[in-house]
């Protein structure tokens, strides 16, 4: 996993190019759907295609990317058709190679894992309440709280334990940063072109 991170940090440029390419493709796929879209719809399409593009740029190696795509196309999602359209026909979707078996199973058990985790955390904190005086337990509680927040931030973060959480965070930060850079450069380029 760390190998992937290192290689990614080495070539942010290629990551950006790939993201841009996929993003434009996804946008093209969505473009023909409606004639007049409201601004919010456009924004939604843009963001969704950007997220999907970034996630698919990972080719299923990281957990968060798989979770992001899975969330986009899951049954209860309102924009499922949009996401599916962006992803393209099923034949084009990247197969998830190199996936550790355990992590794959995680993605399936979306609902089941959620509740016990929360319960266990709550139980743990309640139990520790009388011993709050000890600094180590305080630190643990603080760190645990922040971990929970981090888990909620990262897509698919609820299934990650300590070490993988941080690795996924690393990768997610790198991808987010590339995404923001590309979007910003695209925005500035569009502004320049439109100024004339």
């Amino acid at each position: 996993m760390v190998t992937i991170l290192i290689s990614r940090m080495r070539s942010p440029f290629s990551l950006k190019q790939e993201f841009l390419k996929k993003w434009i493709l996804g946008l093209q796929r969505c473009r023909s759907s409606k004639k007049n879209m409201s601004i919010f719809e456009r924004k939604k399409v843009i963001k969704l295609s950007a997220d999907v593009a970034v996630a698919s740029a990972r080719k299923g190696i990281t957990c968060w990317s798989r979770a992001l795509i899975a969330d986009a196309v899951k049954e209860g999602n309102a924009d499922k058709h949009l996401a599916e359209k962006i992803l393209g026909p099923a034949s084009e979707r990247q197969p998830t190679e190199k996936v550790p078996v355990g992590a794959m199973a995680y993605n399936k058990r979306i609902r089941s894992k959620k509740i016990p985790k929360r319960g266990s955390v709550i139980r743990r904190t309640i139990k520790c309440a009388p011993q709050a005086a000890r600094p180590s337990s305080i630190v643990k509680r603080l760190v645990g709280k922040r971990r929970q927040i981090l888990r909620s931030l990262i897509p698919g973060g609820e299934f990650m334990n300590g070490v993988s959480l941080i690795e996924e965070t690393l990768d997610y930060i790198i991808s987010l940063r590339a995404q923001v850079d590309v979007m910003r450069s695209l925005a500035s380029a569009s502004k320049l072109v439109n100024l004339n």
């Binding site: 760390v2 950006k16 093209q28 843009i46 992590a103 931030l153 990650m160 941080i166 987010l176 695209l186």
Partner: protein, 551 residues
Amino acid sequence: MDIGEKDKYELGKRDEHNNINYQAPVLSTDWQFGGANLTSAGMSLVPTTNPLAIGSSCASASLVDSFGSSLWEHPSNSQNMGFCDISVQNGASSSNAMEIGKGLPNSLRTSIDRPFDMGWNAASAMLKGGIFLPNTTGILAQTLSQLPADSAFIERAARFSSFNGGNFCDMVNSFGVPEPMGLYARGVGLMQGPDDIFAVNGMKSVSVMESQKSKLDATEATRDAGLRVENRAKTSPLENERKSESLMQPNEEVKQGTGGSGNESDEAEISSRDGGQDELSTLDGTGGEPSAKGLSSKKRKKSIQDAEIDRAKGGQTSTKTAKDSPENQQKQSMMINKTTGKQGSPASRPPKEEYIHVRARRGQATNSHSLAERVRREKISERMKFLQDLVPGCSKVTGKAVMLDEIINYVQSLQRQVEFLSMKLATVNPRLDFSIEALLAKDIIQSRAGPSSTLGFSPDLSMGYPPLHPSQPGLVQAPLPVIGNSSDVIHRALSSQLTSMTGGLKEPNQHSNAWEDELHNVVQMNYGTSAPSDSLDVNGPRPSSNRKVEL
């Protein structure tokens, strides 16, 4: 002035620039000196060299040369273009020399800085104005592969790589100032088969050098030793002697520093289940002896032959926990790759489990749970060090809670930026067509990928233009000499021009016309050179009469 800029950028880095400009606490003069020397072509701005830098040790200078050259040749950083231009233009002062060395990888720099710091505190005080970019560990990895290999250093490198936390500190302290730097760098260079190993080394060294709780790290690291052993003990009680014997040899070897069989570092293996053997007791018995030497926190790697034997024995090990197995595999595959050089490919993560032999530290609790916890904690702290490099502003922060806070803030801000930018893009485009903008964006991305060459360009261009157009006010690039007729060069030139002329303001209105004309030229050139996959839309028919003739 530099400090002011630094502060400003530190404040605005999250929201505005999203460039990774954060200042390193210490910069080694050698980096700048070597880097400046090697890029003498474009580095007319480099002022008088620091006399202290000249007096640097030869070992570090040679390393710096190799680092500097490759650093300048492989600029993969995508940020900082504008800022570096600004800083360059701000006048030649010794502090500017530091900013030139911006491409340094953070981890290695911080790790090497300490030994330098001991020797050249005065110089380091001067160097505080440096700006660094992360994301260059890869560059360093490439450069390190060029370092010469030496058999004696292989072992030391192996030891370095296998050491954790406190041990490295001990070794550093014992070896003195200039040596650890050379040893470490050479050792890291030797480990350069796959890059992940460097990452491991980098992380470890960073953790060593930077952690202010080095003791805690040391204890954790030593706990790892016992923990892995405990894992095996916990999961399956089996015979000890065989394993312990086989383990003993590599342990002795490493300890005595011979280790010459080429199996450089130890193999740490985790047995999650059967096939593991309870070495805990035996290792503890033998562990007392090495730990007495103060080198107790090693994760021993078995020799290759032993590893294979173990793999054959291990067979199908049902994962103890699904979570642990991927990490373990990855971790061991990292270490195993280190020893064997390359076992196939990055996909060589063996589906079967490997074993991490870990020794319990002397005087530490050998309870299986606590040891497992310690290993886990050690891994987590390793990754956190990595995150420290990534998240700006995290280098000065210690402690998990605060760092997690920073990370959470950073992720939230990035997500908010994505939202904001997507809304902005939605407003800019009435329809969802981004063809031309995409090409331009690609150019911009490309041009950003070469900040160092931009740096080389900017002084020449900025100094060349005023004499060319003395009569025209403002920024006019009419007879802009096209160097190589490449779009990104033009972009870079334009951006440098803009930043130099406007002192860093982004695209002031008065320059927008000339800027756009150049962009249109770029667009024309792009359409001429490459066949775009997208179709040209209504924005297509730009007046070609706008094209300015370049020589």
